[in-house]
């Protein structure tokens, strides 16, 4: 059954499978496959200093459109991205998912993430609230919008060049 017509229970399962898949691609630095999850009008937003604001008027840690996302993956795939050489070792848990259907046919997801990163003898733990707008496509989804609200987005941060 396609994601567009499934029951809410089935939809939750499909969403969970999608998020677990996305998490695995990000953890394993599978940049090209991760990029394929996004729609061509996507926005990938990691707010800075505050959790919500008009990104046209305030700096963000990341505010990528699809072109910028392609650049991000191109850079990570290329030689000379010193901040990911060697790459971070990553392990994330996505949970507390809340799934609802939007009026426009997209699925809205709120979830929490705990991400552990090990690199250069240091272990970092990041906590974040995630928001997604997912567009049903076949038996899966495309990411139209992903927002990562880091708990420490107003603290001095280190190296966030891996995929959040």
């Amino acid at each position: 059954m396609s994601a567009a017509v499934s029951s809410l229970g089935e939809l939750r399962e499909q969403i969970n499978a999608f998020l677990v898949h996305e998490a695995a691609l990000a953890d394993q630095h599978r940049y090209d496959e991760w990029l394929e999850l996004w729609s061509s009008d996507a926005i990938y937003w990691v707010p800075c200093n505050e959790d919500d604001y008009d990104p046209a008027r305030h700096v963000s840690i990341i505010y990528d459109d699809y072109g910028r996302l392609q650049e991000r993956c191109f850079r990570l795939n290329s030689e000379g991205a010193h901040s990911q050489d060697p790459p971070s070792r990553l392990c994330r848990i996505i949970g507390n998912e809340e799934v609802s259907r939007n009026g426009d046919g997209n699925v809205q997801v709120h979830a929490n993430m705990i991400l552990v990163e090990v690199r250069g003898g240091e272990k970092n733990i990041y906590g974040a609230r995630l928001e997604y707008a997912l567009q049903p496509e076949g038996d899966s989804f495309k990411i139209k919008h992903k927002k990562v609200v880091l708990l420490d987005n107003d603290e001095p941060l280190g190296n966030l060049t891996f995929l959040l």
Binding site: E50, A56, H58, I61, Y63, R75, G80, G158, N159
Partner: protein, 428 residues
């Protein structure tokens, strides 16, 4: 003379012509002396007027280890105080920014107004007759002054004026502002806050690293614009320059290979004039202000090419006001404030933000690689069997101009030598 690794050392002996000793970056005793002799003595950048634009606005900053409250009083005047209750020392300000008429200590309720005076002490009857609130206001920083909206503080009661301190660097603050038709910028778009396990002096001016540290940025530029402009502008054959302005202030001059025109993609993304109504409107405003299209382009190019270090803790780079925060010899913070242009269409500032994020910040395509190098530097310098680092690029070829400004090739180490000479002077 102070002890380094158990030996008596004159710090200035750690800087020689063309080389520097790694203790300058790794020794904690030297770091403590830097706080006293540099950060608590010289003028340091503190805040921009737009961060306290309205009466009652305040922001929390730091000078070395000191937490400082910068507040615009209800009388409209900007002041800076140590963030410390006069009673038992509790901090009175616990947010980075806000608007408040009073700062009330949470411990025993001592209350100060936003001009500094202590105006309330609970249960005052238990203090004797010698107790005078008038002597117990928030302690102001000894000197506070501003240059074109940039507030600087000095913790020394006496010394050179801010104007004398800035010297030739002031001209580049001017240029930075000139991309705005009203020659004003606003720091109202937040701050990208980062840290690294390395010495604060690594955040310098280096025209040599670009083709190596930022190879991926150049690859992206080639992908975006179809040419390798930036790779050429940072080679020893480029006409661009490293410049020692004196007083530890220095800059990279990248303007000699820069072109700007409407709708043309550029390598930096900063200062691109989009081929849109907003882009044309911006150009019109700039032509009205500066007299001709050629001048307008020159001002836009001049501003985006500003790449200056105002010693010791401020850099203006493209669209960024970058503040260096020393924490220990091996740990530092960098706060980057994207400067928004006053009096331009919103779209111009929005593009400025997206251009800023492209290179800067903890997930940008440029700054994280600088950070990575700074950390590897700090680790590498611990291996000090041979403690001297080589800083002799262009030493014999650099040109001393009539006005005393020293100029070298863009890949020369004129800038590093300029800063370390000032460092030795301050640490003597």
């Amino acid at each position: 003379m102070t002890a380094v690794d158990g030996h008596e050392v004159d710090y200035s002996s750690l800087i020689e012509e063309g080389r520097v000793h790694s203790a300058v970056y790794t020794d904690e005793t030297i770091f403590e002396a830097e706080l006293e002799r540099i950060f608590y003595t010289y003028w340091v950048f503190l805040a921009h007027e737009s961060e306290v634009a309205e009466p009652g606005d305040y922001c929390r900053k730091s000078i070395g280890r000191h937490s400082i409250v910068v507040a615009r009083g209800t009388d409209g005047e900007v002041r800076a105080f140590f963030n410390r209750c006069r009673h038992r020392g509790t901090t009175v300000c616990r947010y980075d920014r806000g608007n408040a008429e009073f700062f009330r200590c949470p411990y025993h309720g001592w209350t100060y107004n936003n001009r500094g005076p202590l105006i309330g002490v609970p249960f005052p009857s238990r203090y004797g007759p010698g107790f005078d609130k008038a002597n117990l206001g928030l302690v102001p920083v000894p000197r506070l002054d501003r240059y074109r909206g940039f507030y600087f503080a000095s913790l020394a009661e006496d010394g050179p004026s801010l104007k004398e301190h800035l010297g030739r660097a002031a001209e580049y603050i001017d240029m930075f502002l000139e991309a705005s038709p009203s020659e004003r910028v606003e720091l109202r778009a937040g701050a990208s806050k980062s840290n690294f396990h390395g010495n604060w002096k690594f955040v310098g001016m280096d025209g040599y690293h670009v083709n190596f540290t930022h190879k991926t940025v150049q690859d992206l530029q080639v992908r975006r614009t179809g040419n390798a402009e930036s790779r050429k502008s940072n080679s020893d054959r480029a006409p661009n320059l490293t410049v020692d302005l004196g007083g530890g202030h220095c800059r990279l001059d990248l303007s000699l290979t820069d072109r700007v025109e409407i709708g043309k993609a550029t390598s930096s993304l900063i200062g691109e004039i989009p081929d849109t109504e907003a882009g044309r409107q911006y150009l019109t405003l700039m032509v009205e202000r500066w007299g001709s299209e050629a001048e307008a382009y020159a001002k836009i190019r001049g501003s985006r090419d500003v790449h200056v270090h105002v010693w010791p803790n401020l850099q203006l780079i493209g669209s960024e006001v970058r503040v260096i925060r020393p924490i220990s010899s091996g740990y530092s913070e960098v706060f980057g404030y994207p400067a928004m242009l006053d009096g331009v269409p919103d779209e111009i500032n929005e593009r400025r933000l997206r251009g800023y994020e492209w290179f800067n910040g903890v997930a940008g395509f440029g700054s994280p690689d600088d950070r990575e190098i700074f950390e590897r530097n700090q680790t590498g310098l611990q291996n000090d069997k041979e403690p001297w680092m080589v800083l002799s690029r262009g030493l014999t070829q650099a040109e001393v101009r009539d006005d005393g400004v020293v100029v070298g090739n863009i890949t020369d180490e004129v800038t590093q030598r300029s800063q370390l000479r000032q460092w030795a002077e301050a640490m003597r």
